[in-house]
Amino acid sequence: MSNTQSIAPVPIDQIVKATKIFSQRTLAPSFGHGFLPYFSFKQGYLNLNNGSYGALPKVVTEACNELMAWQEENTDFYYRIGFIPPLINVREQLAKLVGASDVDELVMVANASTGLGLVLRNFLWQSGDAIVRCNTTYATIYKTIQYIHDVTPGVQISEFQLIFPTTPQAILDRWTKHIHNVKRSSPQGKNIVAVIDSIVANPAAAMPWKEMVKICKDAGIWTIVDGAHSVGQEVLNLADCGADFFVSNCHKWLNSKRGAAFLWMPKESQKIMLTTIPTSASYVTPGPDRPETNIISQFQYNGTIDYTTYLSVHVALQWREWIGGEAAIHAYCNNLAREGGKILAQTMNTTVMDPNGEFTKAMVNVTLPFPSDFQAQYDPSIGTALSNKLLAQNKYAVTYYHNNIWWTRVSAQIWNELDDFKTLGNALITICGEIVTEHKNANVPQDCKADSFHLYLQQPIRGAVALDLNNGVGAPRPITTTKVTPVGYHTHLASIRP
């Protein structure tokens, strides 16, 4: 006797006006510095590190403001009805983009760490199970695996060493041996799960991950792919990839608001997934009464969050079409990374890690101009000094220590040009020189503040209510200021988070 009345979904394009620009025939600028006005970077900031946190185009920022205003207009409508159709639509678009066979293989999560953590924690681990990770596995995942080992007696960790420079074939040969050994030493009927990076973060390296997945699959080993850097940087065709799980961040290379990623899991893999974290109100105890699609329903709502991050993917995809489309973007960035890396190495008189470009997409690694005896031992204060001094110069690229060498990892994006790599190179020459001198003279500043960095942070942040009289609200303005005090070297933060 139900009297259901269908509620018409409200498409995002009706809510968001900022994207009107996309329908205009005006062409987007060509890739390069001409795109800087479309982003919100501080004047003169040289951003060579898209890889860590991505960047939100102004258009997408405005669209997000409109989406947040929509959320506040009638919050009950939004959270009970409104967000659902646009979210399904985003999942459909992403499923198409990454070559999933069905929208119900793909759900949204906050970030890759969450997606991978969810999968790893859903396995019912038992003594004798094994998890394969690499020395280069991203820190949060590396530690998640450590945590599982710590809380489940008898779960083994098998670590594969990945040392660059190397070749894809060399990696595959050693990986085959490694997987063979793990399989051989694993008791009958126990789970073995391998976490494989599609693109390693530090060093930046696009791996032969599909071949690595196949080797595992042939050995009956579960594969969870950390594709954090993949979507928007490379073409994906997940239906053919053979992996059991794949996770990627939309806020890195796909221009969405931060806090949006997807988890792909084909139907077979969904059997592993018992619950979201937090557990959803729609969770059903595993058993014959539980619908097959229960886990997908669970992902719709698991605690109040701001869905704007997920919905922003819709606008991000429109942006990318407007500026030239995936193929054009990949071509520009990948080419620039390769050519830029050469320029950078030339400028600093050092070397590119991957001269043949076998591992290079939009990120390139180049050694830093330190004397070899200077880098023989790992000294975290060098990493922090590099980070701080770059920021003081209004520039940024990641620096890290690998294989007894200090490297820089540079991201090539649509707002970058070849010149940027030269500029970075000259800056790094100066910075590295300073660091060597400071160490030689045992002159490492105690609280490690470069003068200009200090000035950079001098602006007091208004942390309080600003009721603008012009708004018509007519209220007085109580202002308190939150002063940002530089805290000095954050060793473990700056050097570990790529």
Binding site: S2, N49, D76, R121, K143, A281, Y456, R462, L467, V484
Partner: protein, 436 residues
């Protein structure tokens, strides 16, 4: 006051309790932080946001009366905080996880999940049925924990070791929106050697003068985006130092995680400072929200108004509907800023979720007004939230709308008397069959 919020002008917001509301001044105040995040993403995410959030954490710790700032961290929402706690316990056979029939649904399912996986701790449920009183609940709680302790003693004999009991207690239940004597219940937990995990989702900004160091629960979480006006999503997880060893890892696990046996200092705060890239500005917004609330007059002024409107509005609504407020027999001791009024359905009315869906169509969509509806102890109720923009007139408008909706719903779904009659005939037939 509506000028300070950005609601659709035709929408009367009577359900602030579910998702909170972001005041326009707070939305404005956080714009500079969003600008910073894009001006230099590396500087913001590696340094600036970390420092800012540390300051805000300290401010929030003071606000809730924690003994140390290091006992308070940010999490995305209360469900996330509670899941972190419950998953970090090392569960063993014989352990008991105890929730209530009135626990928030997803927390009940969390307890269910934990019980579903090995080693299958027992999932127990304490029952609260309104109308009731604080005194009765306290009495029943003590008796219940004592009975759980008898079960535990029996298990201890069988297992050769003493299992643990973990109780999840709401400070303020969601549906009905009801303040529980949670501090007394926490005390009783201590007396009965039971862990107290308090779901304070609705507390901050509604329950004035929180003093956690005094109340001393074992764990406590609250949503800042509900009654405190922070941006979604923003919540606090409070773990006193003595219990931080229980929290082995955040979710997701942090790069700062150290294996418990290698951990020689508490690294609780470090583990929660970075758990993957998210939008960090909601955490910062909690501070802006406090500034706005101070400007409005402060916690007591805000809550005095909301409480008064909840009671006056609730009484008016009950008058119009010809029904009652859930705790009017107990001098409204359960009512803070949310008031629960019975819906004028016949007593046989179905408890089906379809009835709630019907209210959504008729009230939320058609009339642009919507309080929460729920079925409890044989009746349908509505839970109305009173906020700084609320007026008694809103309850009058709501009353008329509900009356109309109820008539329509009974017409569409029937009043359940047919089903009841069928059930009774069925029983009669059964009895006759047995006699034969």
């Amino acid at each position: 006051m509506r000028e300070c919020f950005s609601f659709d002008p035709e929408y009367i917001n009577m359900n602030h309790g579910s998702y909170g509301s972001l005041p326009s001044p707070v939305a404005e105040a956080i714009k500079p932080y969003y600008a910073l995040a894009e001006a230099n993403p590396d500087l913001f995410h590696r340094f600036t946001s970390i420092d800012l959030i540390r300051n805000v954490r300290e401010r929030m710790a003071k606000f809730i009366g924690a003994a140390h700032a290091e006992e308070v961290v940010f999490v995305p929402n209360a469900s996330h905080g509670l899941n972190t706690i419950l998953r970090d316990f090392t569960w063993n056979e014989g352990d008991i996880i105890c929730s209530c029939n009135t626990s928030y649904k997803s927390i009940s399912t969390t307890a269910q999940y934990i019980s579903d996986i090995p080693p299958h701790p027992e999932n127990a449920q304490f029952s609260i049925l309104f109308p009731t009183s604080h005194t009765k609940i306290i009495q029943d709680w003590r008796a219940y924990l004592q009975s759980l302790n008898e079960t535990r003693a029996q298990s201890a004999r069988e297992l050769g070791r003493r299992p643990k009991i973990v109780a999840i207690i709401d400070s303020i239940i969601s549906v009905p929106g009801a303040l529980l004597p949670w501090k007394e219940m926490v005390k009783i937990c201590k007396e009965e050697d039971v862990w107290s995990v308090v779901d304070g989702a609705h507390s901050i900004g509604q329950e004035p003068d929180l003093n956690l160091a005094e109340a001393d629960p074992d764990f406590w979480v609250t949503n800042c985006h509900k009654w405190l006006y922070a941006k979604r999503s923003c919540a606090l997880l409070y773990v006193p130092k003595r219990n931080q060893h229980i929290i082995k890892a955040s979710f997701p696990t942090s790069h700062a995680y150290i294996s418990p046996e290698k951990r020689d200092v508490l690294n609780f705060v470090e583990q929660f400072e970075w758990n993957g890239t998210i939008d960090f500005v909601p955490y910062i917004s909690a501070s802006c929200a406090l500034d706005f609330r101070a400007w409005l007059g402060g916690e007591h002024v805000i809550n005095a108004y909301c409480h008064r409107i909840a009671l006056e509005g609730g009484k008016r609504l009950a008058q119009i509907l010809g029904t009652e407020i859930i705790d009017e027999g107990q001098d409204f001791q359960f009512t803070l800023n949310m008031v629960n009024v019975a819906v004028p359905f016949p007593p046989t009315m179905s408890s089906d979720f379809e009835i709630d869906m019907a209210f959504r169509r008729k009230l939320l969509i058609k009339k642009k007004i919507y309080p929460a509806f729920f079925y409890h102890n044989g009746k349908w109720w509505t839970r109305c939230s009173a906020q700084v923009w609320s007026q008694v007139e809103d309850f009058e408008f709501l009353g008329e709308a509900i009356l109309e909706a109820c008539k329509e719903i009974v017409r569409e779904f029937g009043d359940g008397s047919e089903e009841k009659a069928i059930r009774e005939i069925g029983k009669e037939v059964e009895n006759l069959t047995l006699k034969i």
